[in-house]
Structures are given as structure tokens and as C-alpha cells.
Amino acid sequence: MSQTRDVTTQGITGHLANNTSHQRELGMAGESSGEDIVSEYLGQNPHLAPWIDSLRGYCETNKQWFARREFILRNMETFSTVEPGVPSSSLDKLISLSMVWANHVFLGCSYPQAVMDKIKEMSEGIVVQDAPVHRTTKDESMMKGKRSAKSEGDAESCVKRAKCGPNEIDSRPAGRTATWPMSQKAGPQPQAPAEYQPFFNRLYKTVAWKLVSAGGFGPNMDHFEILRSCVESCKQTLICVFVPLKDITGLPTGRTQKEGHVCEIRCQTVYMGTGYGRDESASRAMAAKEALKAFQGRKVTVKICKRRYKGRDVEDLILLDEQPRNQGFPPALSYPFQDMQQEDGSS
């Protein structure tokens, strides 16, 4: 009996692992979540179903439970002493970690770092669609600036949403990638911000005067045109990356229009903004508007920040105003710093 169990458990993890790697090869993930695989697996091992359902909490919604169930099934083999149907302390540990993960994703709880690292590892590959966004009060007070006050367009926030820690929602660029004029490096160099800062100081002044002459920052101006002319008068060029929305995976299914494009603007490899629009130029305008918002403060700063790119955390150069903000950057659509297997899609 226990042998069959071992086989079956390996079965599911193998199953899931295969599936994920398969998805990775295709350059897309999460569209068909683990849910189907789990139910397929449980269909093959009907004796497990009542047991696993007995672990469901009374107040868990279907969505929460399916996600947690997948978490438990995926990690069963690492807890080798877990035997379905037999209560044990190692089973309790697994349940506890699954709850930690679910609480983190669905309630917004955080735990000591060691615990967080552990669940991050264990949750690799599990996709939760449209996880709720919770902020702790700490973030809340940090967000008091203008940035949080404005409400973003729905689609825009969809893009921004994909930030929840270990929950694997990521967007992958499947469109064209511009060729980079700069020499390619593996990630930004630590001195890069200092190198770029003088240019952006100049740009800041140019933009400020431009905005003054245009009557102040407002919704009815051609943001991209302003940004472009300012950058060009500083003898540089803007780089825009477009990705059709349908090529971005892991977006909430309910509210996504499948048309539309997402645009990311950079200048001198420094990220400035992301925007969504019905067509490429609308998305570019939106991204430019985002970018210009950074120029509303007293100064702009180039910083190295962590953000998501292709499901990994990478370091990126980002232009910020002095407003403190939480690290809620939308995932990068491009990565101008040559590293690893990045160029696969565009070459």
C-alpha cells in the first residue's frame, strides 16, 4: 500500500513538474492552472480524495482550497513520513506550511523570513489567478503620497497587480525586443545609477520647463510627445517595448480584454513607465503619462530596484521620484541587461 502511495505521489509531482516545464518551454505558464492536473490526478487515485478533502478548512472558499490542495499534494513527497489518512506531526507540519502559504497569498499575512523562504520554495509553480491585494498598515502609511491616491485604470492595475510575492504570476515578453544600443551587461552595475543621474537631472529640468510652458501636467496633453521632445532635446532617445496583452500570461481571466497592448518605456536602459492601451500608440501614451508622473516631485532619482521579470526577481534600473512607495512595480517587459537565456524569444 505504502509503495503504491509513493508511486502515486511521485506521480503527481512528476505530473505537475512535467507540465510546468512544458509550459516553460512554450514560454507561457499558468493559463491552465494546476487545478486540472490535480483533479485529473485525483481521478486516477480516488482513494485519496476523501482524505484530502478532510483537510479542508470550514471557511475556505473553493479557490483557496484548490490552491492549498495543490500545495499539499505537490509537497507531499518531501514530507516522506506523511501518510494519507494517518494523522502525524509531519502531516501537521505540511498542513501548517500550506496554511502559511495560503494566509500569505489570500490574507496578506507575512511570517518570519525563514518561513517565508521555505514556502516560497514549496510553492514554486503554483498559479493563483487573481489573488486579492492586501496591504498592511505599514504600506498604507507609506502610500499616502499622490501615487496611491490616484486610481488606475482597470487594465493598468491588472498589470500592476502581478506582484504578489511567491505567487507565480508573471508576464513574459513574446513580442519584439528592441536592440540595445548600450553595451550589454549582466544586470545593472552598482555604479550605474550614479552614471545616469546627471542625465536625468538635466531631463528633469527640461521636463519641468516644458510642462510649465504647456500649462502644467494634465490629462489632456500628449504625454508621449512631451516626453519624447524633452528626451531628444537632451540628445537621447526613448525606447518603447510593446507586448500584445494576449501574450501576457497569468492575468486574471474575468476582466481581461484580450485586445490591447502593453508598453514599457525606457531611456538609457532606465525604466520609466508601463502603460496599457487599446492599440500601441495608446499604450505608449499611457506609459509616457506614467513616466511623466515621476517628474511631478522635487527631483528624480535613478535606483536599482528588484522587480519581476519572467517569473524571477531581477535587478533593474528604475527612475523614481522622492515619494516613498512600496515596491509595486509592474513586471518588466524587457530586460536590457544581457544575462542568461534572455535573448531566446527575440533572436
Partner: protein, 982 residues
Amino acid sequence: MGVPAFFRWLSRKYPSIIVHCVEEKGRESNGVRVPVDTTKPNPNEVEFDNLYLDMNGIIHPCTHPEDKPAPKNEDEMMVAIFEYIDRLYNIVRPRRVLYMAIDGVAPRAKMNQQRSRRFRASKEGVELTDEKHRIREEIIQRGGYLPPEEIKERFDSNCITPGTEFMDNLAHCLRYYVADRLSNDPGWKNVTVLLSDASVPGEGEHKIMDYIRRQRAQPNHDPNTHHCLCGADADLIMLGLATHEPNFTIIREEFKPNKPRPCALCGQMGHEIKDCQGTAREKQGEHDEFAGTVPVSEQEFIFIRLCVLREYLARELTMASLPFPFDFERSVDDWVFMCFFVGNDFLPHLPSLEIREGAIDRLVRIYKDVVHKTGGYLTENGYVNLERVELIMQAVGVAEDNIFKKRKEDDESFKRRMKDKKKRMKAEQRGPAYLTTGQFAPQALGRRDRPDAVQNARHQAYDMRMQREQHNMDAAQSLKAMMKNGGNSSAGTSDSADNRGVKRKAGDSDSEPEPEDNVRLWEDGWKQRYYKTKFDVDVSDEDFRKKVVKSYVEGLCWVLRYYYQGCASWKWYFPFHYAPFASDFKDIKEMFTEFETDTKPFKPLEQLMGVFPAASGNFLPPTWRNLMSSPDSSIIDFYPDDFAIDLNGKKYAWQGVALLPFVDERRLRAALADVYPDLSAVEVKRNSLGSDVMFLSKSHPLFDFIHELYRTEAREGTEIPAELCHGIQGTLNLDDDPILPDNPVTSPIPMLRDISQNSAIGVKFKDPQYADGFVFKAVLLPDAKMPTKVLRPDEWVKGNGESWRPQLGFNSNRQQVHLDQSGFRALGHSMNRNQGRGQYSNAPPPNSYQHGNYRSSASGGHQPFQHSRQNSLLGAPPSFHQPQYPRQQQQRGGHGWDRAVQSQQSAYQQNMNRGWGGGATSGGGGATPGGGGGYQQQQQQHYDQRRDDWHDRRDNRGQHQQGYGSGRGFPPPPPSRRYNWK
């Protein structure tokens, strides 16, 4: 339930339920404090039999007070607690029973709330420290001054939880305290003291209720016992009503909102931490003699008379022409039940019912509307009739949509009004945007120095124009400068106070960023959005919604049962963070059958594991603590180190919902099974369930009986002979470590002396037991005599010979107090001579803005409830002829006023005992308004024609009093509730 909200609502709507306490203060004579003799009649003109203390309401303010410096160590805390109890004892003067109940392990339903409070406290503590640190740095960088950071350890209020060492010590100290008072205080000699410490499971107030319930169900109970329950929770009002005892009074601290608090950084009053400037401390008083004192008066106490509330409710709930006979007692139970919808400690309140929006009135209205459909009461003896409840819920559900819309409208218009107000205030401050200058400068009207004739007007106009231009250029300059420096010269811009630039900025910062509200209850589709955002389910998920409703229905049944019959299940709890909508309560009849029986409460240390965050783990043994932080712990998910707070439409974090995971009892017990062997002997003892203890002194009739039990070493429980103890019943068991007469009791507190002459005895006490399935009846007892009515009868017609005389205390024939002539002479004398600064020199007394918040003006109460203190609100004294005063009094008030004095020696003394000044003169000042009242009572017939005169005089006296109080730095005059101008 939102405690302040409910209480505020209640006291505004039913003002006469509140009676201010008369408190006799101990005096000091040659440096020795003379204790108050509590054997004397109660100065409140009422005698209470039983005093119940919900101790947690005492422990919290005594251990971490908000309005005075915190006690330095545990011993000081204990002493503060003793003093607080002494004070209450002195006010209430119970004649039969003093019951002290400390919260023990609570039912699971309550644990969620406790957990959320403790996690929040911990989180807030961390955030406050961070903020303090940040602001401190800032201020010091700006060159401000701050007192050095105190190194003292913060008192973690989380230790006020059963099972901690602190609670164990407290129980120990209270035993000592009781033994001491029983041996040494004559006021205690006939009182039976019951102590239910934290080792006895149950919340304090519910242990008290259990005691009352079990006493009144046995035949020897005196149905006219006068109960007095101390505690600030709004629940107590419900609980008191639920007993159906006719004489039930609650005593609590007067609720004063927005009490000034010292800044957490520099310790000065008058600003909050975020506005701290780091300026040097101001001298308090001329020679800094008031340093360390906080300019607030001592907390005063108020009584809440439930018999008066019952009168009000009788008016409100009585329905004529019913298809069934009207029973007031049962309608009270229904009222209590409906209050639970609005909020209680065990369930989140329904989103559409908000107490501030008159939810209870709405429910009562609906209740009366649908009574013909329901055909009966909603509850009986604490059991709910779900079919009828559904009808009520459906009626609320129909209105839900409108309630949400109206809420939004009100909110918007409130915001608009606030904005307008702010604008107005600012405009007033700033003055007009442009003022002519020089000889054209505006001149005040009516001044003697007329402006000169205008000379060389054109030149002046030119000057003004140039000035204006210069101004504009400056602004442009500073803008340029800002651009150049990349905004570093922030000081430059704000210095050149161009009011237009400033205006824009200030306007922006006014509109604080609103928390995002994704639910938007006021827009169509609110239900979908609510379920989606709050529960993360689609509205189509009927099963889930049913689950939530079912849990809520169970919850309502559980809570009502808890109030009327005691804890039905220690295990049950509401497993969601949010409530469903009223309109979701469909087919609820089948949703609840019965609770699991024979559930057991947690052990104290188990409960600690259930309610503490990892940061408070130091109260637990190391291996237990480890379970709260180790990645290998099988219950690590219970202990997040940070969590989200959903504001849920509210403004402040403390009003929001803490999104904490729930505790899985099975896993908790399993995990603890492994670490149980690690407990030390002391911890094992702390973890065990204890018993109530009864204490008496030698002079009590029951004393010999108990003493005999010890002498014969009776091993079995013994019933109390009813005739020895006012009909109180219960089972006595010998205590293992008893307090015995003539055995000295050592003091656990170094600064207090041991009791060498002990005359107290202690014995374990158990409430009377009843068979399983026994139902405590929620009815009046047969021999209960109803207290006399207080409210003016509806049929009272003005001018039918006698005018209505409102009752303000417990006694309708309350004698009023007067100051005789010599008193006035002395007063006038000392005022004239010693007042260096004059009577007007000071602002109103420091706490004149802290009036009780239950003035009748807000709601059309039946009876005006005025303070003479209101006078001080009227602003500056219009005329004040102090020296004339005694003479005037002589001329006009020769009768009544003075005559009454001779006969009222005792009453006078009582008033003095209010003790707000100490000396005879100040007592006199306080007595003045009292005199007015007496005058009014006795001269009632002449009242109308003399009204105008009287008004005059009263005004004068009001001012007089005020000037006096403030000029000397005395506390303000006591609240005298004896004027009734109607």
C-alpha cells in the same frame, strides 16, 4: 460592540438613566489620611447589596493609564488596583456581597477578538516605536530638544491574559488585599467577598452573570437584592437587562472623549507625536510647581440605572392591540437580542446596521411593524425563534440598498461641510488676499483718531502697484530657484509666503487620501463586489454564502444563549472575518439545531498560545515559545509577524478588520501535547483550572460555620445554610492554602505591611449547580418589588396644580444643600483679599470643555438633564458683581434658602464630601448651586412669578463660581444636577 458608540447613543437617547456619583473623600489631618467610614449610609441616598467588579476594567487603567504617568513596577500597579477598588467600595458601599471577577479563559468565540486585539497591540507597539524613532531623528536634526529616551521597559499589556505570571501574582495580591480589608476596615466586616481569579474559566462579566443567574434560580434568593455592577463595557447594560432583576445599577467611569494625552516623545501636553516640535518644556505654574501633574480632573464615576432604562424601554416597546398578550419582560429580551445585530464581541456587525445611523431605532421600528406577521416574540429565555428572526432580517434587507446609498450621501455631505468649514476658518485666519497700505490702509471704525486727509494719492497708488509687482517677481524668482536646485530649496518657496502658492498646497493636503473602497456599497452590484472583495468568492457561489449565513445564525443563537443561560459551547466560533447581508438570511429556520455538548474550555496556557503573537512569547516557556517562530513548528501558521488590516470603510486602523488566520484547535492541541512535559511545577499549577474563593471576617454570621469546616477537616462539599448569608447558596470546599483567622498573612508587596491580626477566613466556593438541560427563566421573580418610577408619566399635564419635579438622584425626596450666611461671608472675604490676580484673570477651569457627553439637548429626552456646569459654556461672564453678592443674597433670598440650612446639616456635609477642594470654602462654593435647587423645590409655587429674578441671580452665581474656581486653580465646581428650568 463599539463600546463608546453604543453607550453614547444610549445616554443621549435615554438621558435619565445616568446619575452622577456622590463620592466622599478621605481627609487628611496632620499628614495622616483619615479613611472614609463606609459603615455610614451611602451618600448617594441608596443602599446597594451586592457590588460586582469586572476586574479587567480596573486592571487595564491601573497598569497602563492614559492620563497619568504609568506605575513604575508591578508593586505600584497592585497598589493602584487596591486604591481603585477602595474608591469604588467607598462609593457603592455594598452591604452583602463584593464579587471580584477577573477574566479567565474565554470561550473560543471570544478568542478571535482577543487574538486580534493582542496582535494589533503588538503591531501598534512596533509601529509606534518606529515612528517615535523617525520623528526623533528629524527633530534632533532640526535642532530641537527632546528629553533623553527612557530606557524603561514598556509594560506589555498583553500580560493581562489568564495564565501569565502577572495574573497569578495579581490573584495572590488580591487575596492579601481582601484579608487586609476584612480584618481592618469596619465597612467590610459584614460583607461576603467572592474572588473569581483568572484560573476560573469564563469572562469576568459572564462569571458575574452566572453567579446572579444561579442565585436567583434558587428559592432562597432575595428578589429585591440591589445589584451594582462595575465596568465600562456596553455589554454590561445588556447583561443587566438580561437578568430581569428589578434593581440593577451599573457604575462606570464617566466617559470623556478626546481626553488630552501627553505627546509620546517630549511628554508635553497639547500636541500629538506627529506635530512635536521639540521645544523646551514650558514651566507649569509660576515656579513650575505643577510639573508632573496633568491638567485633567480625576475621573468621576456615574451610575447607569437600568430600572430607568426599563422605564424608557417600556414606553418605546409597548404595543397595543396585539394578537397576543404583551409581556414587557419578553420584549426587553427581544430588544437585547436586536442590539446584538448592531455589534457584539463575538460576531462582526451586519454591514447595513451602524449604531451611529440609528440602527437600533430602525430595528425597533421594524420589530413593531412585523410583529403582526411574526405573531410573537423573537426569543424566549435566551433561545431564538429563527422563523421570526428571518422576517426581521428580510425587512432590514429590503432597506439595505437605501441604507447604503444614504450612508454615502451623508458621508459626502459631511465631507463637504467639513471642507467648507475649513475653508471658512482659513479665510478668517488669513484675511483678504490684498490689503491697501499706507494712508489707504483700512482703519477700524469708531476709533477716536480719525484718518488724515489723503495726500498725494497718485504716488501712493504707484507705490502700492510697485509693491505688488515686486511680490510677483519674488514669486517667479523663487520658482526659478526651485527649478535650478532641483527642488532642494523647499524652504525658499515656503518662506516667500505668496498666499496663492500656499493656498493650493494647503488645499491639497487637506483632502487626506481616502482609503480605496472597492466595494462601493452605494453602487449597484454591491453584493457581488462585497462577496468578491471580502470573501474572494463569486456571488454565484451560493453554497459559500449559505455557509456564512449559517455560521452567523449559529452565532446569534450562541450569543443570546451566552447572555441568558451561560456558555453553550466553549468550542463554537464565527469562522469568517465579515458578516453577510441582512438580505441573505433566507430559510434560516433549519440552519441551527443544537450546539455540541460537553465542550471544555482551553487550559490557561493553551489559550495563551491561541491569542498571543510571537512577540509576546516571553510569557510562555521556551519550548512553547519556539512553536510560535520555528519554521518546523506544526502550528507556525497561527503566528504571522505582520498582517493586513482591512479598513472596511472605516477611517482608522483600529476600526478595521485584522485579517488574521484562525486557530485550528486540533492542531494546537496536538502540537502542545509534545511540549507539555517541559512545563515546570509552577507552570503546571498556573495551567490548571482554579475555583472561586469566598472570604469573610470574624463578625460575619457564616464565619463560625466555615471555621468549623476547617476544624473538622470536612473533605466533602458543604452547602451554605441559606439563613446565614442573605439567602446566598453554594457549595463550600476547603482551600488547600487557605487564609485562616489568627494566622498572619504575609504581604506580597514590599511596601505594604503583613497582616499580623488576621480575622478573615477563605474557602472555596462553587455556584449552585443545576441539572443538565435546566433552563434559567428570564422573568421577574414573584416577590420582586418594582422601584418607583422616575420618568414623568405621559398623562402628566402641566399646570394641574403641581408641576413635575424631575428626579435626579436615586432618591426622589433628595434634600438639597445650602450655604449659610457665614459661609458666604467667608467666601466673599477670602475672595476679595487673597485674589491677587482678579477674578477674570483666567480661562475657564481646565476641564470645562469636558462635559459629560450626555446632555439632553441632543435628543428629545423626556427630562432635561442639565448641569450647572453648562454655564461655563456660555462664554465670558457678562457682568459680575462679586462684592455685592452676599448682600444681594440677604435682601432677596431671606427665606427658603437660608431656612433650609439648619435642617440640613447632614446633607451639607455630604456635599462637602464630594471633596473637590478639600477646604470649607470650596465646599461652600460647591454647595451654592445646590442651594438653588433646594430653593426651587421648596418655593415651587412661587416659582413662576419669581422666575426672572431667579434667573438673574443664578447667572451671577454661576459666574461667581466659575471665577472662583479658575482664579485659584481649584478643580471646577462639581456637577450639580439640581437645576431644572422647565
